[in-house]
């Protein structure tokens, strides 16, 4: 069937609620209202308000409650309304969610998912466009997953719900309604640890995730016209990184450009660049270059296109790598 990303997420959530009687959705305005992005539309009607729960406005409280729910055998999936509104819950995520299995010497995990619509490009007000994946991937014990299209959103969400450890599932909201694509009627869980080569190429690899995959593909199109064979890798898992796929891309193409919309300093692109030069230095024909957001607050929306990596910026940087 043809679904856009937000519909695919809604479908995956419905499927989880259907298949796993212990699953519970929680968040602000997700019930009758179906969430501010409408990802949960119809689910409360279908599954009742014991399974799809509106919470008070208290992110630390309800993320903490989700942790407690896991102890009694529930599998909570929490929606945070927008990227920046997860910050009140960071103490719960850093101090507890990420440490629970370790605190039980590996015996028990917290089977919970935090759904976090994130990123820019939607002309939203301040603090509705942040990309905080670095902080989740740096603080130990959390998995961080980011889909890039409807199908991967559905499949990875299923995988996240079934993985047995807390997953920060970041949804690039700019892609929510970016057209409908084929999604299988019955979704199967994807592979949570794997990056995916969305297009093959031999001269240069563009590594991207979330909304930046589309930008990377656009850049690859332009570069193809210039005669460059460009591989595009969709990272999907931010922590842990798919080291094998990244090192293959690096060593097979010799040139890598990483694209991320988050600020540059200590971003995911830094980790990838550091890793490639550590482990694939001999194969590299050029430094790994980064196209990133700037080290500044996400600008008010009239200037957001300046912050966000664009096709021209990626192309220009790729050319620099190709001409190195």
């Amino acid at each position: 069937m043809q679904l856009n990303m937000v519909e695919a997420i809604g479908r995956a959530l419905g499927q989880i609620l259907e298949d796993d009687p212990s699953s519970v959705l929680m968040g602000e305005d997700i019930g009758v209202n179906g969430g501010v992005f409408r990802a949960t539309v119809g689910l409360q009607q279908r599954f009742g308000d014991d399974r799809v729960v509106d919470t008070p406005l208290a992110e630390a409280g309800f993320v903490g409650a989700a942790i407690g729910m896991c102890l009694v055998g529930l599998h909570p999936i929490v929606e945070i309304q927008f990227d920046a509104f997860v910050y009140p819950a960071l103490q719960q995520l850093f101090d507890h969610a990420g440490r629970f299995r370790w605190r039980t010497q590996g015996a028990y995990g917290l089977p919970m998912v935090i759904r976090l619509p994130y990123g820019g490009g939607t002309k939203a007000p301040e603090l509705h466009s942040d990309s905080p994946e670095t902080i989740f991937s740096h603080m130990p014990g959390l998995r961080v997953v980011i889909p890039s299209d409807p199908r991967s959103a559905g499949e990875l969400l299923l995988a996240a719900a079934g993985c047995g450890d807390p997953v920060i599932f970041m949804e690039p909201k700019r892609m929510y309604r970016r057209g409908r694509y084929e999604v299988p009627e019955a979704l199967l869980a994807g592979d949570l640890d794997k990056a995916v080569v969305v297009r093959d190429g031999s001269d240069l690899s563009l590594i991207a995730y979330g909304a930046m995959v589309e930008v990377a593909e656009g850049a690859a199109d332009v570069l193809a016209q210039e005669g460059a064979s460009v591989r595009v890798v969709d990272l999907r898992s931010i922590y842990p990184l798919d080291r094998d796929e990244l090192l293959s891309a690096a060593s097979e193409t010799g040139r890598v450009v990483v694209v991320q919309e988050a600020p540059r300093h200590c971003g995911v692109a830094a980790e990838i660049a550091a890793m490639i030069q550590e482990e694939a230095a001999d194969s590299m024909l050029a430094p790994t270059l980064r196209v990133t957001g700037m080290d500044m607050p996400f600008p008010l929306f009239q200037s957001e296109d300046e912050m966000l990596p664009s096709i021209p910026r990626v192309v220009a940087t790729a050319r620099a790598a190709l001409n190195y």
Binding site: D29, N33, P56, L57, P125, E126, M294, E306, Y324
Partner: protein, 370 residues
């Protein structure tokens, strides 16, 4: 655009959902006509009309903003239709030396301190000119993350107190914000240190689609003040005179060294949460419509006329000129040039780090061989 002016100042029929919440809330307009009139006449001469004018300006801004959003001149916009009384009273009951801490729902409050309306409109247009001059107006930047402005207000008030200044701080907020941890931390801290701060919480009974019954189990938010050992006052949010009294009294207490006050302005969200919201998804709009009679401009108009402080025409004129001042605002917005990203990058730190310097902002400029 303008409401039927035959509204009565009194309170609505109990048919409106949650109208019983108004019971016991401070009121002026809901009083007997004689005491209502007496109250208005007891006020400083200019005040009643000043409050009405402030509300008229806020209304004109809000109505214009909704139009501009539909026209695509600005982005998503959180209308405050029906909450003009709380805002006007909150600003006018304080002096210009006092600090205000608005949320996304009070972006025009700064205009009552002299800031041109283009400024908050530029905010919703996604333009950095939308950040008003914080020190000039003593109004903090509008605050989007719920409840995080409360501790700021406490710090400003407490800081002024430590400096020996008689400055008061007022933070705006909503019913939903009372569930957040920072509401609690702020109230508690304020009470402990005796900070001269006012928490002015508008209980419009909705946080987007979440009704107050799912937000908290108490029916009176003012009761939460007991947890901090500070007074909790309930006031009719549609009654600008009652709101004015409540804020003024809290400010007097604060200045007298008696510490913080929590004011619950009881009401109902007459409009949607914002332009992207569709209340019919989650509430009975016909029922909700019963609250329309409380709309504060109409009620104030009726009361001013009743008290002989103004006539219909005069008030109509105030509304009209408030609206007129905004007729060409779209042109002014369009004429405001967008600063280059280099300038924005340069505004983040006092000493701009190299990574935000013009040469470093866009990769190709500095990448070797780029």
């Amino acid at each position: 655009m303008t409401e039927p002016s035959m509204t009565s100042p009194a309170r609505p029929t109990v048919g409106a959902p949650g109208a019983q919440l108004l019971e016991g809330a401070l009121t002026v307009l809901g009083d007997e006509p004689t005491s209502r009139v007496a109250h208005l006449l007891s006020l400083p001469q200019e005040l009643p009309l000043a409050l009405f004018s402030a509300m008229a300006r806020l209304r004109a801004f809000d109505e214009r903003a909704v139009i501009l959003q539909r026209q695509g001149v600005i982005g998503t916009y959180p209308t405050y239709f029906g909450e003009e009384a709380v805002q006007a009273a909150g600003v006018l009951a304080l002096s210009n030396e006092d600090w205000l801490f608005p949320t996304y729902r009070q972006t025009a409050a700064v205009t009552l301190r002299g800031c041109p309306p283009e400024v908050p409109l530029l905010m919703w247009r996604g333009h950095p000119g939308g950040w008003h001059d914080v020190m000039r107006y003593r109004v903090a930047p509008i605050c989007v993350p719920i409840a995080t402005n409360y501790p700021h207000a406490v710090g400003a008030a407490w800081g002024a107190k430590l400096k020996g200044e008689k400055v008061v701080a007022l933070a705006f907020g909503g019913d939903g914000s009372t569930s957040a941890g920072e509401f609690h931390e702020a109230c508690n801290l304020a009470a402990v240190v005796g900070a001269p701060v006012i928490f002015l919480v508008t209980n419009n009974q909705w946080a987007i689609s979440t009704p107050i019954s799912k937000q908290t189990r108490v029916t009176r938010l003012a009761d939460k003040a007991a947890a901090y050992g500070m007074p909790g006052i309930r006031v009719d949010s549609f009654d600008v005179f009652a709101c004015f009294e409540a804020v003024r009294e809290a400010a007097d207490r604060a200045r007298a060294g008696l510490g913080p006050t929590l004011i619950e302005a009881v009401g109902y969200r007459l409009g949607p949460h914002g332009t992207a919201d569709e209340p019919s998804m989650y509430r009975d709009q016909a029922q909700a419509g019963l609250w329309a009679a409380m709309e504060p401009l109409g009620r104030t108009e009726a009361a001013l006329i009743e008290a002989g402080l103004a006539d219909q025409q005069q008030l109509e004129q105030i509304r009209k000129s408030a609206a007129a001042a905004l007729f060409d605002v779209a042109d002014r917005l369009a004429a405001t040039p967008l600063p280059p990203i280099e300038e924005i990058a340069d505004s983040v730190h006092l000493r701009t780090p190299w990574s935000l310097s013009p040469e470093r902002l866009h990769e190709p400029k500095w990448i070797s061989n780029g």
